[in-house]
């Protein structure tokens, strides 16, 4: 089986399982909305959002919901011992990683598809004045986050204290991606959208994606070997 076929099959399996229960999407979506609620209390003054807070709310919500989803996806693998079976399969580890990444990214984007319009409505933000930029930043940011998240969640799947360790490991490493997402989105949300700054952050995000994905592909193979 070719690399892409293997990856597609792994991703398809994940999405099929998810489409039957919809557990991950439901829980992380509800969690995201609760997050937004908490932020709204902290960052809205007299009915108006503090400057630049909308961008921060959007990305922190995505990051938190992403952690929850990652933890749950790999918990499911561990419960049924399917991760071991997957790793025993005669397929390249990198392909398995890519398949997992596609699955995680799809779920994350699904959650975002609801969270982003919600943020727009609830915080009165016109995010899509420059749709290409906004979509680019969302996609690049989510990809970088999901890439590192998939690697660490997979490696932590067999660890005792994974629930506590995943955020502790994930946030410092992915913080460059979160910063890029927040600053890029904030630049687009200015009264006069600052396209130069937005482009700079988008470039940065793509650069981080490249570094992160290379490192992940590189380490997944030896790290997941027993």
């Amino acid at each position: 089986m070719t690399f892409l076929a293997t990856a597609a099959r792994v991703a398809r399996k994940d999405l099929l399982v998810e489409s039957r229960s919809r557990e991950v999407v439901y829980t992380s979506l509800l969690f995201a909305i609760s997050c937004m609620l908490v932020f709204a209390f902290g960052l809205v003054k007299e009915g108006r959002v503090v400057t630049d807070a909308t961008a921060a709310i959007l990305w922190i919500t995505i990051a938190f919901a992403g952690t929850l989803a990652l933890g749950r996806i790999f918990d499911r693998e561990r419960q049924n011992e399917t991760l071991r079976a997957l790793l025993l399969a005669p397929a390249s580890r990198a392909a398995i990683y890519v398949g997992k990444l596609v699955g995680v990214l799809t779920l994350l984007l699904l959650v975002e598809a609801i969270v982003v319009p919600l943020v727009m409505v609830m915080f009165g933000a016109t995010l899509f004045r420059h749709p290409a930029f906004m979509l680019g930043i969302l996609l690049a940011g989510s990809l970088g986050y999901a890439a590192v998240g998939t690697l660490f969640a997979a490696m932590l799947a067999r660890s005792r204290s994974r629930a506590a360790l995943l955020p502790v490991l994930l946030y410092p490493i992915t913080v460059p991606v979160i910063i890029g997402g927040v600053r890029g989105t904030a630049a687009l949300l200015q009264p006069e959208a600052d396209l130069v700054v937005a482009r700079a952050w988008l470039t940065m995000l793509v650069a981080f994606d490249a570094v992160f994905i290379t490192l992940c592909l590189w380490t997944f193979e030896p790290a997941m070997t027993e």
């Binding site: 660890s159 360790l165 490991l169 410092p172 490493i173 460059p176 992160f212 490192l215 380490t219």
Partner: protein
């Protein structure tokens, strides 16, 4: 019996055969130790005299003298982080337990040196910028890098058996941040002085500066030697416990 080593309760059994259980205890890597200790101690003892004799900076005055230790510790921190990253890669791909010990030691020293950098920096900033902390690119990225290595240590301590590979990946990602931290001052407009300061340093300041950098690099080598030796003995202890159980 007191067991300070958490790994003892869950010996890294199974996957690895006892390496050194049968061999006599050797002190190979400690043979250079007295020489290193002498050099490092001498350099650190002489450093204050050089720093005191260095000229004052025109606008910042006395407080700029923090620079010599701050940057020295920062450079040694980068070297330590790189050592951790390279050793982690060697461990991941070459499966050498020795590389894992080096990575662990380097990560701990990175955190220790990072603490010096992150404390001496704000003390300087208080005078030079009027605030203790500024959320600019260099300061933020340094803090992020420090947190990554902190989480490395956390993982080693609480990750349980099999966390060596996971922490190796963390070390790899942590050292990938080093170039980013280094160039952050040139990429963004920051309040932190740029990397341009060092190559354009006045000769009267360059001497003490190079001295301090070398002193910190020697300190790094010294601490590494000591820390790796500790980790080696712990491995031997684990092996002895395993041998005892057989």
């Amino acid at each position: 019996m007191s067991i300070p080593n958490a790994k003892l309760q869950t010996p890294r059994s199974g996957s690895r055969k006892p390496e050194t259980a049968s061999r006599r205890p050797e002190v190979g890597s400690l043979s250079l130790f007295p020489l290193l200790l002498l050099i490092a101690m001498g350099m650190f003892a002489y450093a204050p005299f050089m720093i005191l004799n260095a000229p004052y900076e025109a606008t910042m005055g006395l407080v700029q003298k923090i620079f010599y230790f701050h940057v020295g510790a920062a450079i040694a921190m980068f070297v330590a982080a790189f050592t951790c990253g390279i050793a982690s890669a060697i461990f991941l791909f070459g499966r050498r337990p020795g590389a894992d010990r080096v990575a662990f030691a380097a990560a701990e020293i990175t955190v220790m040196l990072g603490l010096i950098v992150l404390i001496s920096g704000p003390l300087w900033a208080r005078k030079a910028w009027g605030v203790w902390w500024q959320w600019d690119a260099r300061l933020t990225s340094t803090l992020v890098m420090w947190l990554v290595f902190q989480s490395y240590l956390l993982l080693r301590r609480f990750g349980g058996p099999g966390s060596e590979k996971l922490s190796a990946a963390v070390g790899l990602f942590g050292s990938a941040l080093v170039p980013f931290v280094y160039w952050s001052v040139n990429l963004w407009r920051t309040v932190h002085p740029t990397t341009n300061v060092v190559p354009t340093l006045a000769p009267s300041m360059r001497g003490p500066f190079l001295w301090c950098v070398l002193a910190f690099l020697f300190l790094f080598v010294l601490l590494m030697t000591l820390r790796v030796e500790l980790e080696k003995r712990r491995t031997r202890l684990d092996d002895l416990y395993l041998a005892l159980e057989d």
